[in-house]
């Protein structure tokens, strides 16, 4: 028991958004080579969808690399309840040090309206399309609640477009499966809608490596180009991410797009009109695949 405790990685309380989750990713290398098999979440008192799916991918990558599941320990009850409710454990990437008592599990009926649970997007076309269609069906059914603070018929349709475009990128480009989740929550008096779609595939820089005509001065610039220019690693043109960017601009939300060791954040929510504020980052901790978090604030 003591040994297991010694071999635990204690994660910092940095699961509030994509930016703070970088600190968690910064710890991932200590999982390898130190016989760490337990991840201690005792310090975490809040976890939002991007961090949750990031953690899921971290566990899946570890499982693939070592053949071992990481055990999650020390979870505060609300965190454990939330992860369980969002189907975090359904995908078999983590073990639970202590299982959540059935009587403590959140009732699906009382909490269902503002979320779309973590759903896998397979990397095979047919299965992937079925999964995307399923996510959109659930989203449409719950949209009235998910988009309560941003409600308009067109907003629902815009989000359907966004889900469709980003999820398709997984089976079209990543060469791996991924996950999607949606949630509306309130934090510090602000309503936040977060749509997260993420994979641990080859990532944007590698997917463009076979296209020498597409040149960018850095990976972050390439990731930004993928978001703002109709380039494609497979076709003459790629419209999907540009479309997503245009819609998020219209809704005055924000986008965080991370791939490999770089990211771009575009914040349209800071200004009522005009172009968004763009922040590029290179030299982040290497994390396989592409992860996107789209947020609306109200």
């Amino acid at each position: 028991m003591q040994r297991a405790r010694d071999a635990a990685l204690v994660l910092p309380n940095k699961c509030r958004d994509a930016y703070s989750f970088e600190d968690v990713l910064g710890h991932q290398n200590s999982l390898y080579g130190n016989e760490v098999s337990v991840v201690d979440l005792s310090r975490i008192d809040f976890i939002e969808p991007y961090s949750m799916i990031g953690l899921l991918l971290l566990g899946r990558t570890y499982l693939r690399n070592t053949g071992q599941k990481l055990t999650l320990a020390g979870m505060q009850q609300p965190i454990h309840q939330y992860l369980s409710r969002m189907d975090f454990f359904k995908w078999g990437c983590f073990a639970e040090a202590v299982e959540l008592d059935k009587s403590k599990q959140l009732k699906r009926s009382s909490f269902s309206n503002r979320v779309v649970e973590i759903t896998e997007i397979p990397n095979r076309e047919r299965e992937s399309i079925a999964a995307i269609t399923g996510i959109i069906a659930v989203f449409r059914k719950r949209a009235e609640h998910i988009l309560k603070y941003w409600m308009a018929d067109s907003t629902v349709d815009y989000f359907v477009t966004v889900i469709s475009e980003v999820c398709q990128n997984i089976f079209e480009h990543s060469m791996d499966s991924g996950y999607c989740a949606v949630q509306t929550y309130s934090l510090a008096g602000e309503h936040v809608l977060r749509l997260v779609i993420a994979d641990s595939g080859i990532g944007i820089p590698r997917s463009f490596s076979a296209k020498p005509e597409i040149v960018a001065e850095s990976n972050a610039r390439l990731v930004e180009m993928a978001l703002t220019t109709p380039i494609s690693s497979k076709r003459k043109a790629g419209y999907g991410l540009c479309q997503v960017n245009a819609i998020v601009e219209k809704l005055r939300g924000s986008i965080f797009l991370r791939s490999a060791d770089s990211s771009v954040a575009v914040l349209y929510n800071r200004k009522r009109v005009g172009p968004g504020q763009v922040f590029l980052k290179n030299g982040l901790t290497g994390f396989p695949g592409t992860q996107i978090s789209i947020s609306l604030f109200g």
Partner: protein, 186 residues
């Protein structure tokens, strides 16, 4: 010819109200192409999107863009007009058409059955005089080159050239008017 998109999607057992992904676009394209095998030269094909809420860029690329290209080059050539498009379809088409233009020498545009967000009856990017001609035709239905020239404030040869560009984009029709030609809306 009127093509009911919703009916075709139902026949193909595609879940509605959204038409998304490339495979769905390809399936729909193949089915509509079959229907178009009986149209005659310069026929207007009304694509009716009643009951469809969202089409994504993959679908637009595989379905609408291909049909637009066919309308220009196929034998027979035809015209396309979109009917009952939602706001989401409108913005998604605009975005794809605009991206298409950024990456190629070519451009695409298509006529709609009603005035849309750009305050006109087309999707795509047109120049100011081109747009003026579309708007003029929307009101007057059939016009001759001198009338266009007078309306847009250009010479007759320039006006005719602009009208011919719109014809090549399959946004207006040209028809015989005595010994001359006139242009007509779809």
């Amino acid at each position: 010819m009127r093509v009911e998109i919703k009916k075709i999607a139902k026949d193909l057992k595609i879940a509605l109200p959204d038409l998304i992904t490339r495979p769905v676009g390809r399936k729909m394209y193949e089915r509509v192409k079959k229907q178009l095998s009986v149209i005659h030269e310069d026929e207007v094909v009304l694509l009716d999107f009643e009951g469809i809420k969202v089409v994504d860029s993959s679908f637009i690329d595989e379905f609408l863009l291909r049909l637009i290209m066919d309308s220009r080059s196929s034998n027979p050539a035809f015209f396309i007009k979109l009917q009952s498009i939602s706001d989401a379809i409108e913005i998604n088409c605009e975005s794809v058409f605009s991206s298409f233009r950024r990456l190629s020498e070519d451009r695409v545009a298509v006529i709609t059955d009603r005035i849309i967000g750009n305050n006109s009856v087309y999707l795509g990017s047109l120049s100011k005089p081109e747009r003026d001609i579309i708007d003029y035709l929307r009101v007057n239905k059939t016009v001759r080159v001198p009338e266009i020239a007078h309306y847009i404030g250009k010479s007759e040869p320039e006006s005719e050239e602009l009208a011919e560009v719109l014809l090549a984009l399959r946004l207006i029709r040209r028809q015989k008017d005595g010994g001359n030609f006139c242009y007509a809306s779809l």
